[in-house]
């Protein structure tokens, strides 16, 4: 008898048993929750399914990039929210990376006061909740800006007031399309040139003028193209009429406040990553490249930055994902992102909690997975290859 049950002492048998028990327990719990939910929904008279997406939304959105209007369906409202989330995320990413690098490098400055100010900034922003920044920028700063009549003018073409930022809008996009095509071509040329330069270096050991060609193709060409496009277009410049500005494009105060909060907050974290990355490069590397006869600029480009990037990429990925997720803080000041439009307004109108929650979370999971897949690919490309 005892022998018949000896198999329970087999570790493999027990492992299978425990895992099966865990799985069955979880599934049972899930079934229980779903059963309750469906009963509760029947009681509340809510139909499940995604049919509600084709109903007319009737929700007015103060700031749209898509051509959504009130009479469109709820699915269109969803896309309008996703577009607004993406807009603020992408702009915040670019600006906070730039500001973060600036502050991170300032923390390593040889000038004491520069270092001290950058350090104080980092200690200040990292220890305060992001929501505080959002509310502070919105109710404290933007709301305290002057009324349209006394707007702060930016070179006489853009105007900042308590109703937002009014910027000029190009009348026709044609010249900008040509400019972007020119920029794309010069980027392609630059890539081809780099490939050719590397091949030649490997074959003959000769250096190509990488820096000057790069500056020309990646800096001068885009600047000239954009300058030409700016001059070639007629601009709809906002003009003060009565109590507000007419013409141009109004960036709503919610966007300005959310962007300012995301950038000032995230920059503090990026600065620490940049500092850590640069400091992680052993000093001996720099001394060694000096001994090999590399000039300081070459050392920076060929020795310091590649090694610092290697350390910085994984935490930067986390910060980029945080910016995406943190853009949802706009919901607290009613910036029309996907959370406030969909989990807020649409959910209030339709009551279809489960479908709406699932769709909203899917937005973040899908974009987040795409970003981390890209960053992992990039990380693998620049990672140290040890043989």
């Amino acid at each position: 008898m005892a022998k018949a049950f000896a198999f329970i002492n087999d570790k493999r048998v027990r492992d299978v048993f425990y895992q099966a028990a865990l799985l069955i327990g979880l599934v049972a719990l899930l079934v229980y929750f779903i059963r309750n939910a469906s009963q509760n929904m029947v009681q509340a008279g809510i139909a499940s399914g995604f049919d509600f997406l084709w109903r007319t939304s009737g929700i007015e959105v103060p700031f749209v990039l898509t051509n959504y209007t009130q009479s469109d369906n709820i699915l269109a409202l969803f896309w309008a929210g996703v577009a607004n989330t993406m807009l603020v995320t992408v702009i915040a990413l670019v600006l906070s990376t730039a500001l973060g690098f600036l502050i991170g490098i300032a923390r390593l400055s040889s000038i004491w006061l520069v270092q001290a100010i950058a350090g104080a900034y980092v200690e200040f922003v990292r220890n305060i909740p992001l929501l505080f920044f959002v509310l502070f920028w919105y109710f404290g700063v933007i709301a305290a800006l002057p009324a349209p009549r006394e707007s702060l003018s930016v070179f006489g073409v853009a105007f900042l007031n308590n109703r937002g930022l009014t910027i000029p809008l190009p009348d026709a996009g044609a010249s900008f399309r040509y400019a972007f095509i020119a920029i794309a071509i010069s980027c392609l040329l630059h890539w081809l040139f780099l490939r050719w330069a590397r091949r030649r270096k490997e074959a003959t050991g000769q250096d190509a003028p990488v820096l000057s060609v790069g500056l020309f193709l990646l800096l001068l060409v885009p600047v000239l193209a954009l300058a030409w496009a700016t001059l070639a277009t007629r601009w709809d410049i906002p003009v003060l009429r009565g109590f507000n500005y007419r013409g141009g494009f109004v960036v709503i105060p919610e966007f300005v406040a959310l962007l300012a909060a995301l950038v000032t907050y995230t920059a503090g974290f990026i600065a620490e990553i940049v500092r850590g990355g640069i400091q992680s490069v052993p000093h001996g590397q720099i001394e060694a490249s000096g001994a090999l006869g590399l000039r300081p600029a070459q050392t920076l480009r060929l020795v310091t930055i590649p090694q610092a990037l290697r350390v910085m990429t994984p935490p930067m990925t986390n910060q980029y994902l945080n910016v995406l997720k943190n853009s949802s803080f706009g919901a607290a000041i009613a910036y029309p992102d996907v959370v406030s439009l969909f989990m807020g307004s649409a959910l209030n109108n339709t009551g279809q909690a489960i479908e709406i929650i699932a769709m909203t979370l899917a937005v973040y999971l899908v974009i987040g997975l795409a970003v981390s897949a890209f960053m992992n690919w990039y990380n693998a490309r620049i990672a140290l290859v040890t043989r």
Binding site: Q19, N127, I354, I357, Y364, G368
Partner: protein, 346 residues
């Protein structure tokens, strides 16, 4: 050599070492003065400190009378004044037990900690919420700094044990356990916390059997707790990965079961290594408690925000923000310094 040279550098050299440094220093000093002088004038020199009402605020600077008048609300929200001894007592109990555990002799620490873990959480809920002889006070009346502390502590009471289990699950050899842990962790880490709070407040009542309500504060705490658990799991995983594999192998060779080895050998070492990372996640939690504002639960920031709507105190935005922001900064800065000093001790 370099460190010694830096230490001996005098202030004069630091600020005015070379002509370039001198120019930059002077420019920045002018910039600081330009920004800081009006702020200091507003906050200290021109500020009003004494009085009771809006009419006493005659100065051109900040009106700290507002913060004084509202101090009770900033701390306790709308908790009845005559019952405020209860959150005070609960806070004292938590603080004293924390101190007792820190200063207790080593062999008593674990049992003391476990006893506190069993006794304190229900005690705190009872003191704050009432029942069994105490006047019942609905969570709607809780608020202010007291609520910030409450949510932070109770959400981490969910997050830390769950996070440890998830971290162990992620390291497990059992495929199903590992897969479930990874999915759970990546899901909660991938979605915004604000969405989690909405999700918890909408979904928890829906998935409970009809007639069983979940208090809205409890919903927020559960949502935050799950989310932070996923981040805690990653912090603990760092500690687990830092442990040499030989530790578990040796424990197994000595005949210890998985759980005994984990409890006596692995976790004490892994948790010590990951304590700074856990503290950093706790700081993030304290900052994220502010998000309960979106489901109309008024923690410290929520109370500050709500106070702006008071017609008796119009235009006190800056005072409310400076006070609440300063408090958050002090709390988080103290915690981050503590975590950094732990890192250095290691």
């Amino acid at each position: 050599m370099r460190a010694a040279a830096t230490l001996s550098t005098s202030w004069r050299e630091r600020l005015f070492g070379t002509p370039t440094i001198t120019v930059v220093t002077l420019l920045l000093a002018a910039l600081i003065a330009w920004i800081a002088v009006p702020i200091i004038r507003w906050a200290l020199i021109d500020a009003t400190w004494n009085g009771q009402t809006r009419n006493d605020c005659t100065g051109t600077g900040a009106c700290w009378v507002f913060v004084k008048a509202r101090f009770g609300q900033f701390m306790y929200g709308f908790y009845p004044i005559e019952e405020r001894w209860r959150p005070n007592l609960a806070g004292l109990a938590f603080a004293l037990s924390g101190a007792a555990i820190v200063f207790a002799p080593k062999r008593l620490k674990l049992s003391l900690g476990l006893a506190a873990l069993v006794v304190l959480p229900p005690l705190g809920v009872w003191l704050l919420g009432g029942g069994f002889g105490l006047r019942a006070i609905e969570t709607r009346e809780w608020g202010g700094l007291m609520l910030t502390v409450f949510i932070s502590i109770y959400a981490s009471l969910i997050a830390i044990p769950l996070g440890i289990l998830l971290a162990l699950g992620r390291q497990s050899e059992l495929k199903v356990v590992k897969l479930i842990s990874v999915l759970f962790i990546e899901f909660w880490r991938g979605v915004p916390i604000i969405a989690v709070i909405f999700l918890a407040s909408l979904l928890l009542p829906l998935i409970m059997p009809a007639g069983i309500g979940v208090d809205r504060l409890a919903r927020a705490v559960i949502g935050l707790g799950f989310c932070i658990a996923a981040y805690m799991a990653e912090a603990v995983r760092g500690g687990l990965q830092a442990l040499p594999k030989g530790q578990r192998e040796a424990a197994t060779a000595l005949g210890l079961s998985y759980w005994k080895a984990t409890w006596f050998i692995i976790l004490p070492q892994a948790l010590r290594i990951s304590l700074p990372a856990i503290t950093n996640e706790f700081i993030a939690l304290v900052k994220n408690t502010t998000l309960v504002l979106v489901v109309s639960i008024l923690d410290l920031l929520g109370i500050a925000q709500a106070s702006l709507a008071d017609p008796n105190w119009v235009g006190m935005n800056m005072e409310a923000y400076v006070f609440s922001g300063g408090l958050y900064w002090l709390i988080c800065f103290a915690l981050s310094r503590w975590s950094r000093s732990m890192e250095r001790q290691r």
